[in-house]
């Protein structure tokens, strides 16, 4: 997809500074700082009620922050600045559509609402429809579209004005695997020259797609890194031994001074090794265990993403 205008040297970025949002007496955001300064795919995860939607609404100016500020491409977010509304494209999690219009009219009207004139509009709508891969008839009435078809229409809708920053709140939810991977590919493609900041509860997507992941919990940013680093940080030097006698293995392992943490997950005993030379140490431990117990398997532990998620948000609860 071609940009609407030749790109000059422009600054692309989202900067959130000490953002707080209070609803009545409850702080939904308790001081968020984050900086995104180059195109890419940025994932936002966190449990229900963590404040993801609230954060997105503050970034797009739909909510006025209680404290702190948001800067998009070098200008502070201000609802009165009309040009700023074309800097971003936002798909909220529960957005409604103009149900009585046809898909074509809907896109034309959205394009017009963002300031494209008639001549630009026709070309642009066709271009975006092709890019997004909308296959159904443009005469279909929006109200009768399926969830997936509506989602594609919305994605097309926010691309019309060629925004630099795309914000998708749970836009992958409710899609079948084929459409989901199609949308993921679109997002990947868009992230080449745009910032795509999205939230999802489908962790495999977040982990596979994102260049960086932000973890929000209880209104605070608790983690920010590449997916790989986050996994490493949490599961560094963790090994597992699978055994039918996992309980005795567990108590046996407790005696090793080089083992920092032990946990049971199913019939696996997970343990984290403190020493610098963890691989050799793990072999040594394995050798000793095998002498006394029968085991089914052994290996470097790669966590189940859901488990990882639960670990991340629970370690910050206290």
């Amino acid at each position: 997809m071609k940009p609407l205008q030749t790109q000059e040297l422009k600054v692309i970025g989202v900067k959130v500074i000490n953002l707080k949002k209070k609803f009545n007496s409850f702080f939904a955001l308790k001081g968020i700082d984050l900086t995104i300064d180059k195109p890419g795919l940025y994932g936002l995860i966190g449990p229900n009620g963590a404040g993801k939607t609230t954060l997105f609404k503050c970034i797009t100016g739909l909510l006025t922050p209680t404290e702190g500020k948001v800067i998009l491409n070098n200008t502070e977010v201000n609802r009165k600045l009309l040009f700023q509304k074309n800097v971003f494209g936002f798909i909220p999690e529960d957005v409604g559509l103009y149900g009585n219009l046809s898909a074509r009219d809907f896109l034309h009207i959205l394009a017009g609402l963002h300031g494209l004139d008639k001549a630009q509009r026709k070309k642009r709508v066709q271009e975006i429809v092709d890019f997004v891969g909308i296959k159904y008839s443009p005469n279909k009435i929006v109200r009768y579209l399926s969830t997936g078809q509506k989602r594609l229409l919305l994605i097309a809708g926010v691309l019309l004005h060629d925004p630099d920053i795309l914000i998708f709140d749970e836009s992958l939810n409710g899609l079948d695997p084929v459409v989901r991977s199609h949308v993921s590919n679109l997002m990947k493609e868009l992230s080449k020259d745009k910032i795509v900041f999205y939230s999802s509860h489908i962790l495999t997507d977040i982990w596979k797609l994102s260049d960086e992941v932000f973890v929000l919990n209880n209104g605070l940013l608790v983690e920010h890194d590449t997916p790989l680093n986050i996994i490493k940080k949490i599961t560094k030097n963790v090994y597992y031994i699978e055994s039918d006698e996992y309980e005795t293995v567990f108590s046996y392992l407790e005696e090793f001074s080089s083992i920092e943490k032990i946990e049971i997950e199913g019939n696996k005993v997970l343990f984290q090794i403190k020493s610098k030379n963890a691989i050799d140490e793990s072999k040594e431990i394995l050798r000793k265990v095998i002498e006394k117990h029968s085991i089914l398997s052994f290996g470097y532990y790669e966590p189940d993403l859901d488990q990882l998620f639960i670990k991340m948000v629970s370690s910050n609860e206290d």
């Binding site: 409604g96 103009y98 009207i109 300031g115």
Partner: protein, 257 residues
């Protein structure tokens, strides 16, 4: 990219009009039927009520018939006008479509103006057509009627409807659902109509702008009085619309349901 604000406003108008257009025909038919009914009712009344001797019913002159129509229209069309406004902002909030507008480069003042104009057209066109239809019915039933005065009353009716649309728009900007917007609007309009009917006697007649379309048929207004009435109506409307703009642009979470 340069934003073409003419396109923005035109597209908003187009969107509003496409949605309103679907309602135009049913509303027009409904209002015409209602209007003609008010006149025919006057003729049917003596034969429906048997206890009262026919001589006690007033003679159905064109003026009496026109007055009947305009006072009924005043009461009913004002309610229809505000009901048509509930979807303006409250409805978009309820259906979660306000986000699409609030993330587009639309000035709040234009948002309110365009929504007002479309709803005014939606009630004004059927009302004007109906008043013409009623005029022909009156001509048919009772011979000649004074057209210039009747036309003046019809135009005044449109002015008052504009005021009522402004009331509806204001209420729609601060309510969260169409139901509450409708309930509050009807209550307020009902009270306004009641108060203005009570005030419609003695000295207050000349500036009772909510009843002016009825009064203009029986009371001869000076030009100054007419201008003052028009200014009062427009002034209040603009004030209400201005308030709506202030409310919607100062809300901390405009899209909240």
């Amino acid at each position: 990219m340069k934003i073409n604000s003419r396109c923005v406003n035109y597209s908003l108008f187009l969107k509003e009009w496409k949605e309103a257009k679907r309602k135009l025909l049913p509303i027009t038919i409904g209002i015409i039927i209602f209007s003609l009914f008010t006149i025919l009712m006057m003729y049917a009344l003596p034969s429906l009520v048997h206890d009262i001797p026919a001589e006690l019913f007033p003679e159905l002159t064109p003026t009496i018939l026109s007055q009947t129509f305009f006072s009924n229209a005043n009461n009913i069309l004002s309610i229809i006008a505000v009901i048509l406004c509930v979807d303006a902002i409250a409805g978009e909030r309820e259906k979660n479509t306000l986000t699409l507008i609030k993330t587009a480069p639309i000035r709040d003042s234009f948002l309110i103006t365009i929504k007002t104009i479309v709803r005014f057209l939606l009630v004004a066109i059927p009302s004007f057509i109906s008043s013409l239809a009623v005029y022909f019915l009156i001509m048919l039933m009772s011979g000649r009627a004074d057209f210039s005065n009747y036309l003046l009353a019809s135009v005044f009716l449109l002015f008052t409807l504009f005021l009522y649309v402004s009331v509806g728009i204001l209420i729609s900007t601060f309510t969260k659902s169409q139901l509450s917007s409708g309930a509050i609007s009807v209550l307020i309009v009902f009270s306004l109509t009641l108060i203005s009917s009570l005030l419609n006697q003695g000295k207050t007649i000349s500036y009772n702008f909510l009843q002016i379309s009825v009064n203009v048929l029986s009371y001869s207004f000076s030009n100054i009085e007419i201008i003052v009435n028009i200014l009062l109506i427009l002034g209040f409307s603009i004030l209400l619309l201005f308030l709506s703009v202030v409310i919607i642009s100062s809300e901390r979470e405009p899209t909240r349901k």
